[in-house]
């Protein structure tokens, strides 16, 4: 279960990491259902990054995978094709920078970071997960199985 204490710790660590890298970003933490728990914007970060960080966190929590992986649904050979064109949810994003937080086999929430290049956002995310949740990878171990290839038999 996500609570404000964990969320604050995540945000504090994130701000430290961003300062180490000399970057300014926005950080959002959502609970397991994608609802906002805490959100910080560092001084100097552009204002739209607040909403983008929140969108990334929502996407990561709702799909239970990193927000960049959701772009897989834009592949016409994949079963989820059509999600991108449907525009059913204003929070859906496929920009990298949102990662789910796992506690064992349970999803407890997600982080979304926005402000710098997507690559740096993901690096900060992964550093937070590594520091706080001792996770070597952003995905749950059970989900590390190689993916099936679609479209070819």
């Amino acid at each position: 279960m996500m609570n404000l204490e964990i969320a604050k710790k995540v945000l504090q660590t994130g701000i430290e990491k961003a300062k180490e890298m000399g970057r300014v970003c926005s950080f959002a933490v959502v609970d397991e259902n994608g609802w906002l728990v805490a959100l910080h914007r560092m001084d100097g970060a552009p204002t739209p990054t607040v909403d983008i960080a929140r969108d990334k966190a929502w996407t990561a929590a709702a799909f239970r995978k990193s927000s960049s992986e959701v772009s897989r649904y834009g592949d016409p050979r994949a079963p989820g094709f059509g999600l991108n064109a449907q525009n059913w949810n204003e929070r859906l994003t496929t920009i990298p920078g949102g990662l789910p937080i796992w506690d064992g086999t349970r999803l407890i929430g997600a982080i979304g970071i926005s402000g710098e290049t997507p690559k740096e956002d993901v690096i900060i995310c992964q550093n937070i997960l590594k520091d706080i949740f001792r996770e070597e990878r952003d995905l749950h171990p059970e989900r590390r199985k190689p993916r099936k290839k679609y479209g070819r038999r």
Binding site: N3, L4, E5, A7, K8, I15, D31, N33, W35, L36, V37, A38, L39, H40, R41, M42, D43, T47, V50
Partner: protein, 148 residues
């Protein structure tokens, strides 16, 4: 105190949270926005409803947009004033501001020494009408922390 920084915003949030938890005894969401209405920090306390974050942000946005507490604006939406010749109502406010306007009491602007509005704080989730315990007083507790 020309600009509301993240550090100051967190100080306000801490004080407001402490007040809401220890004195009011209700869980709520608190948001701080800067002078352009952009969110600086939002916290949702454990147990507060999931919609309260958005409402807290909207209250803070409205407070900074009108440079006055939302408590004063809530008077405009009083249905008892409809139909009076010189009615003090503004029902046209409903739905304005791209849906961000929110005249529920609980948002208070923050001013610096020169009386310039530099931001606002908004709170949502505390039931009103329980003596002095309301969203507005939680926000006031946050503002008081600036002057300590």
């Amino acid at each position: 105190m020309k600009e509301l920084t993240l550090e100051l915003a967190l100080k306000m949030l801490e004080a407001a949270e402490r007040w809401a938890r220890d004195i009011a005894g209700f869980q709520c969401s608190i948001a701080v926005v800067d002078k352009s209405g952009a969110v600086i920090a939002v916290h949702r306390m454990d147990g507060a409803g999931m919609a309260t974050t958005d409402i807290a942000i909207e209250k803070a946005w409205t407070a900074v947009a009108f440079k006055m507490p939302t408590l004063m604006g809530s008077r405009w939406l009083d249905p008892r004033n409809i139909g009076k010749l010189i009615g003090d109502h503004a029902m046209g406010m409903i739905g304005r501001g791209k849906g961000r306007l929110c005249f529920i009491p609980g948002g208070i602007p923050v001013a610096d020494e020169e009386n310039e509005v530099i931001g606002a704080i908004g709170c949502s989730g505390v039931p009103s009408g329980v003596g002095d315990i309301s969203d507005t007083t939680v926000s006031q507790a946050g503002i008081t922390a600036l002057y300590e």
